[in-house]
């Protein structure tokens, strides 16, 4: 059985440019997977009408999608398409202790605290947990034992869809991420926090996103989120292309 890298890469009809740089992500992860004896899977098609379920949630179908394709798996990394992995990144599956793993959401805590508090109030009856255990959902390692958890989250989504969409639209503090976090805590999932180097979010805030490419010397998985003044995701395109070519050259491997 292999370890799996799973990514969703759905073209948003309204914002077609948004997924443009994701080819760099795919190519980097494909190469990393090949080097580390993993398999790479990508979902590119809509499962539902976007009004019914936004593609952000599709990552929760990872177990079903793999099983429908008769894929045997050991551990799975579900990773966002706005990330690039360094070719020399160590095999993080070996760090998991077979637990659910993520990286603490380390960026704007104004956003994270509001995310936790607002979802707590409107969707989780005041249930709360340590903000220091709130993880970013852009890099999650799991295994078959977490299948039930994901099923519960999906059931919760369909039972509370209208309320979830309302909270999403009213407050703008996350879609799947806060809900995954609440379920991890409510269900007492044995969570292992990995260091920042495996999901380097908000790199601008850490003062490492710059032309000297310092971020590539500080860690392994670069997450191009929370970039200031990122009009129409132009800076995401810029940095992902630049990083990819810096680390891998100009050749992009298609899926």
């Amino acid at each position: 059985m292999s370890n799996i890298i799973f990514m969703t890469n759905i073209e948003n009809q309204a914002k077609k440019d948004r997924v443009k740089p994701y080819k760099y992500s795919v190519s980097s992860w494909k190469q990393w997977a090949s080097k580390n004896d993993c398999e790479f899977f990508m979902l590119e098609d809509y499962i539902f009408e976007p009004d019914y379920m936004r593609p952000n949630w599709y990552k929760l179908y990872v177990f079903e999608l793999l099983e429908n394709q008769n894929v045997d798996y050991d551990q799975i990394l579900v990773v966002d398409g706005d990330t690039i992995v360094h070719p020399d990144c160590p095999n993080f599956f070996e760090l998991s202790d077979n637990k659910f793993c993520g990286v603490h959401c380390d960026g704007s805590y104004d956003w994270t605290c509001r995310s936790m508090e607002n979802y707590s109030k409107y969707l989780f009856d005041g249930f709360t947990f340590s903000i220091w255990e709130y993880i970013n959902s852009g890099f999650l390692i799991m295994n078959e034992s977490h299948k039930k958890l994901y099923k519960k989250i999906l059931d919760f989504y369909f039972a509370n869809r209208d309320s979830i969409v309302k909270v999403q639209d009213t407050f703008g503090v996350g879609t799947d991420q806060p809900v995954i976090n609440f379920f991890l805590q409510k269900e007492n999932i044995d969570l292992k926090l990995l260091p920042y180097i495996y999901n380097m979010q908000d790199m601008n805030r850490k003062e490492i996103l710059g032309e000297d490419m310092l971020f590539t010397k500080c860690g392994w998985v670069y997450h191009y989120n929370a970039i200031p003044n990122n009009v129409d995701s132009e800076l995401t395109v810029y940095w992902m292309k630049k990083t990819y070519e810096y680390l891998y050259g100009k050749k992009v491997i298609d899926f």
């Binding site: 380390d106 805590y109 509001r114 971020f215 010397k217």
Partner: protein, 242 residues
């Protein structure tokens, strides 16, 4: 805690340390912990920060010890940190500006050519908790300073004063490091956007740093702001310390 008014400092330490001392004094009494404040400067030392290393003399009779900066305040109801570790060396990873840390490690590495610092375990030296066996590390740092005093007192390459040197000594001594959650030393509060409150629910205007951290470290911004902010925090929450 070292809280020394010194001629080399532009601002008077006691302008802000009075609030730090108030909070720590309350918490220590509540938790049956001895609280020692060093207010006299050792004349062998250039900047007051090096007085911290004298903990190796001041705390010889204790099993567990904490060294905290005079720009920190502890929340009135923080649990007893000394119950949360055995004999590890405890600190909080400082990754607020990885660029600053990289630069700091680079400039000070000339003194430690054979050592490497892992950014994941680089700690902020302003709040550390440890056991008696680690006191010798502070003595080593002091000895290092005294051996290199002239160069360090005239240091103009940036990268801070004591913190990175201290981290190199932790690596050199191969300490068993226990990383604490940021709630035990909340640095760069402004950079984390934690001076704000939940303006969307607007039910509780308590700032996030008060709600979600036990030790607030008012660093990373100008000292005049530090004085104002620490005073405001004390004035707002002083009742909880009575």
């Amino acid at each position: 805690m070292v809280a020394v008014n010194h001629s080399s400092s532009v601002y008077t330490n006691s302008d802000y340390s009075e609030y730090a001392i108030n909070s720590w004094k309350y918490w220590c009494e509540k938790n049956d912990v001895d609280f020692k404040v060093i207010t006299e400067h050792d004349d062998r030392l250039g900047k007051p920060v090096w007085n911290k290393e004298l903990v190796h003399k001041h705390a010889e009779e204790y099993d567990k010890i904490g060294v905290v900066d005079s720009d920190t305040m502890i929340k009135w109801d923080a649990p007893n940190i000394f119950d949360l570790y055995e004999d590890e060396f405890c600190g909080v990873n400082d990754n607020s500006s990885l660029r600053w840390i990289r630069d700091s490690v680079k400039v000070y590495s000339k003194f430690f050519p054979d050592l490497e610092i892992d950014y994941n375990t680089y700690i902020n030296a302003g709040v550390v908790f440890f056991s008696k066996k680690h006191l010798d590390i502070f003595k080593q740092v002091l000895d290092f300073y005294l051996e290199n005093r002239e160069e360090l007192d005239n240091w103009n390459k940036g990268g801070g004063k004591e913190q990175t040197i201290f981290n190199f000594h932790l690596v050199k001594n191969n300490v068993n490091l226990k990383l604490l959650n940021p709630e035990w030393n909340l640095i760069s509060i402004h950079r984390k956007d934690m001076f704000s409150y939940n303006w969307q629910l607007n039910e509780d205007q308590t700032p996030f740093f008060i709600k979600y951290a036990y030790i607030w470290h008012f660093t990373g911004f100008p000292v005049e702001d530090r004085i104002k902010i620490m005073k405001k925090v004390w004035d707002t929450y002083r009742k909880n310390y009575e």
